[in-house]
């Protein structure tokens, strides 16, 4: 029995040492974590990337698909456990959030190789800390899409024609600002079949704890001139008068003007699209989104293509689009395969490869660099999709009004606190002051 026990222990030791050695010597593969999406083209793209990289460099890419909502906590736990992947392509400035843990490699050299001025400013600044280090390399952005039902707006007497401004940007002037949007939403919201129930709503603002909700809430706050980080006081600040004004509008849209359907509180990731693009079940005239629904309509409901319009995100004081956090960026971890990881990052920076990815994503991704956007492919796509992609020039970092990001901001971005503002407005019908007070308390709770 004793001999068997010793034999067992020896075998265990041999296996453990063997697996450790195997791991140390396994320098021919990279572990890559990606956000999973239901879009087939994206899976196809990364399969091709993996095959081409293996053919070029002899290095296999082990792809791990992670649900978008799980990526942040999976990263945090893997870092805490000390076992992390070689590369991650993720959103929301995760690189900055993890920068203090000493597990990431700054990508300043790679950014310089591509050329800082080629990236859209907001997207790049989203990856930069106050010391000037870039902690992630932007790969793709998501187009800024404010979709509207042309037919319903026209029926309400709204002029939906596109016009260019002096800088060549396309606009639909009738829904150019948040006050325009509110006025149009009030016109459109009505009971169309006379049963006493409103069945057509002005605006569908997604509630769920998703990136899209984060996108529109942060956009609204920043376009009013609000901010989340006070650089003077060096603290996360959610209580500026401009933020209060923006949150009041969110609350009013649900409660005072009642132009948002009450059931949005249960809408999931794709439901705001469903309620504008569905040929029979559509019930909202305008939605805000982080990708184009035009390709979906082309494939699944061609009769809807002519009915769906795209406009820039509405402006308040500023025409900002604070969705830089939606850009997908590549993080390089401090592993023993650093050189291979950097080679992969360079490989992903290839212009033609990025164009191919955007093409395959079918409106989900857009370029995050001006040289990629200048590719002839983007001249051929529908004007509305191109317009949405060009709007990425309005992106600002969450660190606005100063540039760059802080780990605190990145943490707030991942905390669902901004998303929960909509619940307090829509479900609990709180006023802006109470909502802001609670959000401030919850933010302070993260850092106390």
């Amino acid at each position: 029995m004793k001999r068997q026990m010793i034999l067992g222990i020896v075998m265990l030791c041999v296996l453990s040492v063997g697996s450790l050695l195997a791991r140390a010597e396994d320098k021919t593969s990279l572990e890559l974590w990606l956000i999973s999406t239901p879009i087939e083209g994206i899976t196809e793209f990364f399969e091709e990337v993996s095959q081409r990289f293996e053919a070029d460099k002899g290095c296999k890419i082990d792809i791990v698909w992670v649900a978008r909502e799980d990526m942040y906590n999976k990263l945090l736990t893997s870092v805490a456990a000390g076992v992390f992947p070689d590369i991650v392509i993720d959103i929301l400035g995760q690189g900055i959030a993890l920068s203090r843990r000493g597990v990431l490699v700054p990508v300043n050299d790679l950014v310089k190789e591509v050329g800082e001025d080629r990236f859209f400013k907001g997207i790049l600044e989203m990856q930069r800390d106050p010391d000037g280090n870039y902690w992630a390399l932007p790969i793709f952005s998501h187009p800024a899409c404010f979709h509207f039902r042309k037919d319903w707006l026209q029926e309400a007497g709204v002029d939906t024609k596109y016009e260019q401004d002096s800088e060549g940007n396309w606009h639909v002037w009738a829904i150019d600002s948040w006050s325009d949007v509110l006025a149009v939403a009030q016109k459109v919201t009505k009971d169309t079949n006379g049963d006493g129930q409103i069945d057509r709503w002005g605006l569908g603002l997604q509630y769920a704890r998703t990136g899209d909700t984060f996108g529109w809430v942060s956009h609204l706050i920043y376009s009013f001139g609000g901010y989340i980080y006070d650089y003077k006081e060096k603290r996360v600040a959610f209580d500026s008068p401009e933020t209060l004004e923006a949150v009041q509008l969110i609350s009013d849209l649900y409660n005072k003007y009642q132009v948002v359907p009450p059931d949005v509180t249960a809408w999931g990731e794709f439901e705001n699209n469903l309620y504008i693009q569905h040929p029979e079940q559509a019930k909202v005239a305008m939605v805000i989104n982080s990708y184009s629904i035009v390709p979906w309509c082309q494939k699944n409901a061609p009769e809807m293509v002519s009915k769906i319009g795209t406009a820039p995100y509405p402006k308040a004081r500023y025409r900002f689009r604070v969705e830089a956090g939606q850009a997908e960026a590549l993080l390089i971890f401090k592993t023993d395969k650093l050189n291979l990881s950097k080679q992969f990052a360079r490989f992903m920076m290839d212009k033609d490869l990025q164009v191919k990815g955007i093409k395959l994503s079918g409106g989900y991704w857009s370029p995050c660099r001006s040289d990629v956007l200048a590719d002839p492919y983007f001249e051929q796509i529908p004007m509305e999709m191109r317009m949405a992609m060009e709007n990425d020039k309005y992106l600002v970092s969450l660190g606005w009004p100063t540039s760059g990001m802080t780990p605190e901001l990145a943490e707030v971005a991942n905390s669902y606190i901004l998303q929960d503002i909509t619940t307090r407005a829509a479900v609990d019908k709180w006023d802006a002051k109470s909502i802001v007070q609670e959000a401030t308390r919850l933010i302070e709770e993260i850092f106390e």
């Binding site: 942040y72 129930q197 704890r209 249960a266 439901e271 780990p407 943490e411 991942n414 669902y416 709770e445």
Partner: protein, 293 residues
Amino acid sequence: MLLYKKKYLYFTVPVFVFLGLMIIFPIVYTIFVSLERSRATDPERYFVGFDNYRKLLVNPRLWQAFKNSLVYAFLGAFAKFWLGFGFALLLNRSFKGRSLARSLLFLPWVIPVVAWCTTWRWMYSTHLGIINRLLLLLGLVREPLNFLGARSLALPSVLLVGITEGYPFFMVTLLAALQAVPDTLYEAASIDGASGWQQFINITIPSISGVIKISLVLGIIWSWNSFPVVWLLTKGGPSDATHLLVTLSYEYAFIRGRYDYGASLSVITVLFLILLFLLLRRLQRGGDVGEEG
């Protein structure tokens, strides 16, 4: 004797090592983390004593989650029990298609919880879900119900999914217990003129009372610690209306990056559970003494 002791050790040491690594260490480590300030993105950690507990115990979110956990655990376990018991009694009789019925009724236990919850999410959808469509068609409601988004409906809706997912355990356990009751008892009772109800109260219930008690206690513990149903359906929302202590603990640790609060909440959750367990044991003993008396 010495050889016997050594052999005994050979078998028990690996078990203790396993328990130590997999159960004791995480528990001790969780308690340790709960006594320090520990944030996911901040490498600096330091001892704060019971400060995290003090802050959490005055936090209204904890008490909201505690109330929800009580409702979810007790109502959930009892509803699962009654539903399971009903089906077990039905399946204990012989009828045509019993095997098929047993398989179908057992299905929710076999289906992965993610698939089960996703299906329910679709069914609950306000304008596209089948439940609202049926309610509107039958004229039971004038406008669709916001099952997962309205404060008053969210917890009952989540609870219903938990019940439908969890009742097969009770059904199978109680069915096994029912099948172990000797037929001779019922035959003797019938000869003595006992009615079906009398047989149920005086033979069935006492014969399976041990299984009932243990399955109810297990049901309450499992429901108390149930995470996936709530997280997959509502993530604790809207406005904490469906947060349980376990989901709140997860949110603090892995969404807000406060490992310390998450760990403290886990310890509090377990302490509440131990208290509940002691209370249940006391009630059970009281019942037993009453029965004996």
